[in-house]
C-alpha cells in the first residue's frame, strides 16, 4: 500500500464524470420542472443523483418520465452512485487496506456503526430542540462537554469511589436544570413576537451560552485533559468454546468478534446505553401525555395550544431534554476519549451535519443520519491513502455532506417538506 492511489486517473476520472453529469442533471431537471410549472423542490436532488449514478442514461430516463419522481428513484440511484464510487476506488487502488483486507473492512464497518449510533443519539437532542423551538442550539457541544466533565468530577474528584451510574445521572440532572434555566432566562422573549428575527436571536443566545460555558469550565478546571476510568469491565467470555475462530471473545477492556473485529469496552457500553435511552425516549414521546404534547407542539403550536397544551412549557422541556441528551452522550464518552473544555466543538459540528442530513426536526432522520455519518467517517479515515491528510480532513467530510445536502435537498432525507426553521412562522 503506497502513499498515493496506484492509478489516480481512473478514480478521479470517474468522480469527474459523476460530478459533471450530476451538475448537468440537477440543472437540467430543475429547469424542466420549472418550465412545466411542477414542484421543483426535489428535482435538482434527484437529477443530481441520476446523473451521478447513470450519466446520460439516468438523466435521459428522468427527462422522459418527467412528472414521476418517486422515492424509489432516489433510493436506487443513491445505491448505484455509492457502489460506483466504491468500485472506482477499488479499481484505482487494488492494494488498499479497504479493498484487499476483509477483516479491516469488517472492523471499520462495525466501528463506524458504533460511533454512528452515539453521534445519532447526540444529534437527536439537537433535532428535538429544533423541532419544538425552531432554533439550532449552538451550545450543544458545550452540553456534551459539561456532561463528560461532570462525570469526571463526580466520580474522581468530589466523591471518589462512587458508582459511575451516579456520576452519569448527576451529569444528566445538572445539564437538564441548566437547559431549563437558560431557556427560561434567555429564550422566553422569542415566543411573544417582540423580537424581529427570533431564529437569529436564538442562534446568538445559544452561541453566547456556548462561549460562556466553555470559558467558565476552562477558568475553573484549567486546560489539562482528563479521562474517567472504565465504568464496567466485561466478564471474561469465550464462546462457543470449541469453535475456531471463537465467535465472541472478551477481555476486560475489549470485545472481539470472530477474532477480527475488535470493539473497545467504553464505546460498546456507550452505544448500548444510547440505544436503551433512545428506546426510553421513544416510549416517552409516543406513549406518555408529555411526549404526545411535545410532538403536538412540534407539529402545530397553535392547534396544540387550543388543545390545552402550554407550548411555552414544552419549549422549556424540549431545550432541557435536548441539552440532557448531549450531556449524556458526553458522560458516556468521557471514558473513551480524553476531555478538554474545547472538546465539544467537533461533536457539535457533527450534530449539525447529522440533523441537516436527516432533515432538521426529524427524529428518525437524526438517528439514521448519525449512522451514515459514522460510516462516511470510517470510510474516510480508513481508505484515504495518505493517513496524515486523511486525519486533517476528518472535520471536512461531514461538512461536505452538510453543504451538499443544503444545496441539493435542504429538507434532508426525512425532513418535513416545508420545515423552514422559522419558529412556526412559515417559510
Amino acid at each position: 500500500m503506497g502513499d498515493k492511489l496506484d492509478t489516480p486517473a481512473i478514480f478521479w476520472g470517474v468522480i469527474l464524470w459523476m460530478v459533471a453529469w450530476g451538475v448537468l442533471g440537477s440543472i437540467a431537471l430543475r429547469r424542466r420542472y420549472f418550465a412545466r410549472d411542477l414542484d421543483t423542490s426535489n428535482a435538482s436532488f434527484v437529477g443530481a443523483l441520476s446523473g451521478a449514478a447513470l450519466g446520460p442514461v439516468g438523466v435521459g430516463l428522468l427527462w422522459a418520465r418527467t412528472p414521476a419522481l418517486t422515492g424509489r428513484f432516489v433510493a436506487v440511484f443513491g445505491v448505484i452512485a455509492v457502489v460506483l464510487i466504491a468500485a472506482a476506488f477499488a479499481f484505482a487502488d487494488p492494494d488498499n487496506n479497504c479493498v484487499a483486507n476483509g477483516s479491516f473492512v469488517a472492523s471499520q464497518i462495525t466501528n463506524g456503526l458504533i460511533i454512528g449510533i452515539i453521534y445519532g443519539f447526540m444529534a437527536l437532542g439537537l433535532t428535538l430542540i429544533f423541532s419544538i423551538l425552531g432554533v439550532v442550539s449552538f451550545a450543544h457541544g458545550e452540553f456534551y462537554m459539561i456532561g463528560g466533565m461532570l462525570v469526571y468530577y463526580i466520580t474522581a474528584v468530589w466523591f471518589p469511589g462512587i458508582s459511575p451510574l451516579a456520576g452519569v445521572l448527576g451529569a444528566c440532572f445538572v445539564a437538564f436544570c441548566l437547559g431549563a434555566v437558560f431557556e427560561r432566562l434567555m429564550l422566553t422573549p422569542m415566543y411573544s413576537g417582540k423580537i424581529d428575527r427570533p431564529v437569529e436571536y436564538g442562534i446568538l443566545a445559544t452561541f453566547g451560552l456556548a462561549f460562556t460555558l466553555q470559558y467558565f469550565v476552562q477558568a475553573v478546571h484549567g486546560a489539562s485533559p482528563v479521562k474517567a476510568s472504565r465504568f464496567v469491565d466485561f466478564p471474561r467470555i469465550r464462546w462457543p468454546e470449541d469453535a475456531d475462530p471463537l465467535w465472541i471473545k472478551t477481555s476486560r477492556g475489549n470485545l472481539t468478534l470472530f477474532e477480527t473485529v475488535s470493539i473497545s469496552n467504553p464505546r460498546f457500553i456507550a452505544a448500548i446505553t444510547c440505544i436503551l435511552v433512545l428506546l426510553a425516549l421513544l416510549y416517552l414521546l409516543h406513549r406518555t401525555w408529555t411526549g404526545k404534547a411535545l410532538r403536538a407542539v412540534s407539529q402545530d403550536r397553535d392547534a396544540a395550544a387550543i388543545a390545552g397544551i402550554d407550548p411555552n412549557r414544552m419549549n422549556m422541556l424540549a431545550f432541557a431534554l435536548g441539552g440532557m441528551i448531549a450531556a449524556l452522550a458526553g458522560a458516556l464518552l468521557v471514558q473513551a476519549f480524553s476531555w478538554l473544555p474545547q472538546v465539544g466543538a467537533i461533536p457539535a459540528m457533527r450534530s449539525f451535519v447529522i440533523v441537516v442530513l436527516g432533515g432538521l426536526g426529524s427524529l428518525p432522520g437524526a438517528f439514521l443520519g448519525g449512522i451514515l455519518v459514522g460510516f462516511v467517517e470510517a470510510a474516510g479515515t480508513g481508505c484515504i491513502p495518505d493517513a496524515q491528510k486523511a486525519a486533517s480532513y476528518i472535520p471536512a467530510y461531514g461538512m461536505i455532506v452538510l453543504t451538499l445536502t443544503l444545496l441539493l435537498r435542504p429538507t434532508g432525507l426525512f425532513g418535513r417538506r416545508y420545515a423552514s426553521g422559522m419558529h412556526g412562522q412559515g417559510g
Binding site: V135, I203, M349, P395
Partner: protein
C-alpha cells in the same frame, strides 16, 4: 444635540489619528499593537453587521473569507518571484525580459522549511542576480479580490437558504476552508503557517521621517485608513438605494421581490462586498503580523467578531466598529491576573467568561446593542416626544 454623534465621531477619529504621534508611554509598541488589532476586528465586525444586521444574512463564515484574503496574499508573496536570470531549478516563464519564478518547496519537513528551488539558485548566484519579490500591495489587492470572489460564489450558493440553514451552511464552508488549509501541507505548510513580508518591507519615508519595517506607525495608519474607508463605503451604500433594498431583503424577502427588488442580485452583492472587506482586513493583518496559520480560522475568532458586533449594535455598523474597538481594548486591559484571599484568579480566561455573560445580557436586555441606542438617543434628542412616538408607530 442632533449633531453630537457626528461631532463625537469626528473627535474620536481625530483622537485616533493623532494618538500615535502624541502618546509617549513606555509600552508604546504594545499599545499600538492592541489598537491595530482593535481596528482589524472593527473592520470585521462592521462588515459582518452589514451582512447580518442590515441584510439579515446571518453568516458564520466571515472568518473564512478573512482567511482567504490572508492566505491569498500569503501564497502570492510566498510562491511568486521575479528574477533577472533563469534559476534552472524552478518552474519559470520569461516575463518582459525577466523571469517569473514559481517557487516549489523541496521536501517540506520541519527541518527543511526554508529549502526551496529559488533559495538553492540564490545560493549559487551569491547575490549576483537581482531577485524581486512581488509587491505587497498587489498581494493585498489579489487577496481582497479572492475573498470577494469566494463571497460571490457562496452568495450564489446560499440564495435559497434562510435563517438556521444559512448559518449552518456558512459554518460548514468555514470548516471546510480551515480543513483544506490545515491539510494541504505541501502548499500551505499546515499548522506551521506561512511567513509573509512585512507591510512595508523596506520601510517608508513620509514628510522626511523614515520608518523602519518594524515600526508600528505605518501599519497603524494603514489599518485605520482601511477601517475608515470601509466605514465610508458602508455608509454610502447604506444611504443609497442599495441600502434600502438590502434592508427590504431583511424585513421580508418575498415582499421585496414582489415590489420589484432583484433580491438575488442584492443578496449576492452584499455577500461579495462584505466578504471582500473581511478579506482586505485579513490580508493587511497578515502582512502586519507576518505569519498566517489555520488557527486564525477557529470558531473562537468568529465568536469574538459576532459578540463585538452584537454588543456594539448589530444593526448599526458604526456602533459595531466602535464596540469592537472598545471591547478589544477592554479585553486587553482585563488581562492582568490578581489574587483574592490566596486564590489566584487567572484573568486571561475569566475575562472571556465575563465577555460571554456581557454578550448574553446585551442580547437579552439591550436588543440593539449598547452603543447604537446611545447614538439614536442623541439623534432624537431635539425631536419632540410625540414625534418620536409617532415615528416609532409608523415604523412598526
Amino acid at each position: 444635540m442632533k449633531h453630537i454623534p457626528n461631532l463625537a465621531g469626528l473627535l474620536l477619529l481625530a483622537f485616533f489619528a493623532a494618538f500615535p504621534l502624541v502618546y509617549q508611554g513606555a509600552n508604546y509598541d504594545y499599545v499600538m499593537h492592541v489598537l491595530i488589532t482593535a481596528f482589524f476586528y472593527a473592520i470585521l465586525a462592521s462588515s459582518w453587521s452589514m451582512l447580518a444586521g442590515y441584510a439579515g444574512q446571518f453568516s458564520f463564515g466571515h472568518m473564512a473569507f478573512m482567511g482567504i484574503g490572508a492566505y491569498g496574499t500569503a501564497l502570492f508573496c510566498h510562491y511568486f518571484y521575479i528574477t533577472a536570470e533563469p534559476t534552472g531549478f524552478c518552474t519559470e516563464f520569461p516575463f518582459f525580459g525577466r523571469y517569473f519564478v514559481i517557487v516549489n518547496a523541496i521536501g517540506v519537513t520541519s527541518t527543511t522549511l526554508d529549502q526551496d528551488c529559488l533559495r538553492q539558485a540564490m545560493a549559487v548566484w551569491d547575490g549576483s542576480v537581482k531577485v524581486t519579490p512581488m509587491p505587497v500591495a498587489l498581494g493585498i489587492v489579489l487577496g481582497t479580490l479572492a475573498g470577494g470572489l469566494a463571497g460571490l460564489l457562496v452568495g450564489l450558493l446560499v440564495l435559497r437558504l434562510r435563517a438556521a440553514y444559512l448559518a449552518l451552511f456558512t459554518l460548514g464552508f468555514s470548516e471546510i476552508v480551515k480543513a483544506v488549509i490545515s491539510a494541504e501541507i505541501d502548499i500551505t505548510r499546515g499548522q506551521a503557517g506561512l511567513e509573509l513580508p512585512a507591510l512595508f518591507e523596506r520601510g517608508v519615508t513620509v514628510f522626511g521621517t523614515s520608518f523602519e519595517r518594524t515600526d508600528k506607525i505605518p501599519p497603524y495608519y494603514a489599518m485605520l485608513g482601511l477601517l475608515v474607508l470601509c466605514l465610508a463605503l458602508l455608509t454610502w451604500l447604506a444611504r443609497s438605494r442599495f441600502g434600502l433594498f438590502v434592508r427590504a431583503l431583511r424585513e421580508d424577502q418575498d415582499a421585496a421581490a414582489a415590489l420589484g427588488v432583484n433580491t438575488t442580485r442584492y443578496k449576492v452583492y452584499v455577500f461579495s462586498i462584505t466578504t471582500a472587506m473581511a478579506a482586505a482586513a485579513g490580508a493587511v493583518q497578515a502582512h502586519y503580523v507576518q505569519i498566517v496559520t489555520p488557527n486564525m480560522l477557529f470558531l473562537l475568532q468568529m465568536s469574538l467578531v459576532v459578540a463585538m458586533a452584537v454588543i456594539g449594535g448589530v444593526e448599526n455598523f458604526v456602533a459595531a466598529a466602535l464596540g469592537a474597538i472598545f471591547l478589544q481594548i477592554l479585553l486587553e486591559t482585563l488581562r492582568t491576573s490578581f489574587t483574592i484571599g490566596g486564590i489566584e484568579v487567572d484573568m486571561t480566561v475569566w475575562r472571556l467568561v465575563f465577555f460571554g455573560l456581557l454578550l448574553m445580557i446585551t442580547l437579552r436586555f439591550f436588543r440593539n446593542g449598547l452603543i447604537a441606542p446611545l447614538i439614536d438617543w442623541f439623534r432624537r434628542a431635539g425631536v419632540a416626544e410625540e414625534t418620536v412616538a409617532k415615528r416609532k408607530e409608523a415604523a412598526s
